[in-house]
């Protein structure tokens, strides 16, 4: 009996493996909680929980990615063999504002697959997207990654996916991303990848939107769209607050010398 079950299981696995991985799961398999983050005046970052279904034998990765933009940086170099100064400007195209990769292997092992996965969706993929080929650019890119990791906007998190429920041939995984307050308002894509037959496939995609609300949204809108009025108001408020404090302190004190 046990032999029959094992044989049936083997056949099912073979059948599953023969099909494209994307076909094994529907795109709705990624669930993101919350799907919208409301950034009000007391917002200080949020946690994004991603749950998904994936094949049980695959090494998997979940990627959280922000909008892609051009990045302009100042490069620090040693001048005259003595002074560290901004000595040049660097420009990288097509890099995401936020990039976090969590990986996991439901059934352990798979160091080779892990390396493949990170080649395909880790920092090397970003380097390729930005069209970085020269060695000096690669050094600058490594420094850029260091800068972003310090801000908690980029990160590679190996084995951070936890398997919360295991079914036959598929698993239910969960990963929690910390989205810092510095992550700007906008849409963040969340994509699920798996390695199968030495190839990395995207299994599903979801997303989360960060939206400024209330006073934060009002101030942001005013600053961006009515700059002059905003500047005059900011200056007038500052003068009034300054004078008011002066009057309050003046009433309480002896008034100078």
């Amino acid at each position: 009996m046990a032999q029959r079950i094992a044989a049936l299981g083997f056949c099912m696995c073979c059948c599953l493996a023969a099909q494209p991985v994307a076909a094994a799961l529907d795109t709705g398999a990624v669930r993101v909680e919350p799907s919208e983050i409301r950034a009000g005046i007391f917002y200080h970052g949020a946690q994004v929980t991603v749950t998904f279904e994936a094949p049980a034998d695959s090494r998997i990765a979940v990627v959280l990615e922000g909008a892609r933009k051009t990045v302009e940086l100042k490069e620090k170099k040693k001048l005259f063999g003595l002074l560290w100064m901004n000595a040049g400007e660097i420009r990288f195209e097509n890099l995401p504002t936020v990039y976090k990769v969590a990986t996991g292997a439901p059934r352990g092992g798979g160091a080779v697959e892990q390396a493949e996965l990170l080649m395909a969706v880790g920092y090397p993929a970003l380097e390729q997207d930005a069209g970085i080929a020269e060695e000096t650019d690669q050094n600058d890119f490594r420094e850029y990654l260091k800068l972003k990791e310090r801000e908690h906007l980029y990160g590679i998190m190996p084995d951070r996916i936890s398997v919360s429920e295991e079914g036959e041939g598929s698993i239910r995984g969960e990963v929690v991303f910390e989205l810092p307050a510095k992550a700007s308002a906008g849409r963040y894509s969340i994509r699920l990848f798996a390695v199968e037959n030495d190839r990395v496939h995207q299994l599903a995609e979801g997303g989360v939107t960060v939206r400024q609300v209330g006073a934060a949204a009002f101030i942001s809108h005013l600053a961006e769209n009515h700059g002059l009025a905003y500047g005059v108001l900011a200056a007038v408020f500052a003068v009034l607050i300054g004078l008011l404090t002066g009057v309050v302190f003046g009433l309480g004190g002896k008034g100078g010398h």
């Binding site: 800068l147 900011a234 200056a235 300054g242």
Partner: protein, 307 residues
């Protein structure tokens, strides 16, 4: 219970208590020495995660509040020379415009950052050292007071030879209007190159070149800084959209209180005590800048857009 607030223009959340504390510290210095404090506040804000452009612009906004609070206290005490302040302000605005053009030219030639940093270190180091040793000598009583017994210096003869002399009653000096205008231009050029309000250059200029009494220097410097920073705040908001009023508001809550305490303390300290304290702060900032230049940074890139 958390004490974080989201800064909508800076796009980051920062601890409220930390911001009010920073504002208080810099406002205290502003009221005590008559400096805006931008040379200290902007780097501190960048350190806590505020983008450089937003840090510089929002700092100007909070300096408006701190300097109006401090200036009000000094005006009540009769220690603001408005006539001198207006002339310095006109010169400063003209000099600032020249400085901005100069920076454009330097950037086109390359190595503008090197010139800016070198100007910073030389100016801060020179002013700080001179003030320190002069005040130290004065406090020890070893400094010769006045030169009435000897020949007037070349500088004194030059000042004397200039036309259009006007009496500045509050400062108890009689000078050519060209002096505050010309020195205002010089400070404006330097302030624009260094990307700061210029208070810490203006104060020594008033003390040593315009020979104004220290208590009038502080109030008059705050008057000049107030208008300079109003102009900067409006321009930054209009052109670059980088003024974060929430950030400025929290900083100014601390700074207006700090400025009042500083202004009160400044009237209780002797001029030489004030000068030596300011010299020490300027020298500390110089040493910090020098260390920043000599020690290898942890990350060899930074976001473009700062000074």
């Amino acid at each position: 219970m958390h004490f974080f607030i989201y800064l909508p223009v800076a796009g980051n959340a920062v601890n409220i208590v930390l911001l009010i504390g920073l504002g208080g510290l810099v406002g205290f210095m502003s009221g005590l020495f008559g400096v805006g404090g931008g040379f200290l506040m902007t780097p501190l804000l960048i350190m806590i995660g505020i983008p450089p452009t937003v840090a510089a612009a929002s700092d100007s906004n909070q300096i408006v509040a701190a300097s109006s609070s401090g200036m009000y206290a000094h005006a009540r005490a009769g220690s603001v020379d408005f006539k001198m302040g207006v002339l310095l302000l006109f010169g400063g605005v003209a000099g600032g415009s020249v400085g901005v053009l100069l920076i454009k030219l330097l950037r086109a030639l390359g190595n503008a950052d090197f010139v800016i940093t070198l100007t910073y270190v030389v100016m801060l180091g020179g002013i700080g050292s001179y003030m320190f040793f002069e005040s130290l000598g004065s406090l020890r009583g070893s400094l010769r007071r006045g030169r009435s017994s000897g020949q007037p210096s070349r500088y004194a003869r030059l000042v004397e030879a200039l036309p259009w002399k006007v009496a500045f009653e509050r400062s108890r000096v009689r000078l050519s209007v060209l002096m505050p205008l010309g020195l205002g231009v010089m400070v404006g050029v330097l302030a624009a190159i260094m990307g700061v309000g210029g208070g810490f250059i203006m104060v020594p200029v008033m003390v040593y070149l315009l020979r104004m009494p220290m208590h009038v220097v502080v109030g008059t410097s705050l008057f000049q800084i107030l208008f300079t920073c109003i102009n900067v705040t409006i321009l930054q908001a209009k052109v670059n959209h980088t003024v974060d009023f929430v950030l400025a508001l929290l900083l100014l809550i601390g700074s207006v209180i700090g400025a009042q305490i500083g202004a009160r303390l400044s009237t209780r300290l002797q001029a030489d005590q004030l000068k030596i304290l300011m010299a020490i702060i300027v020298l500390v900032v110089t040493v910090k800048m020098l260390l920043g230049l000599l020690l290898a940074p942890d990350v060899l890139v930074a976001y473009a857009g700062g000074h």
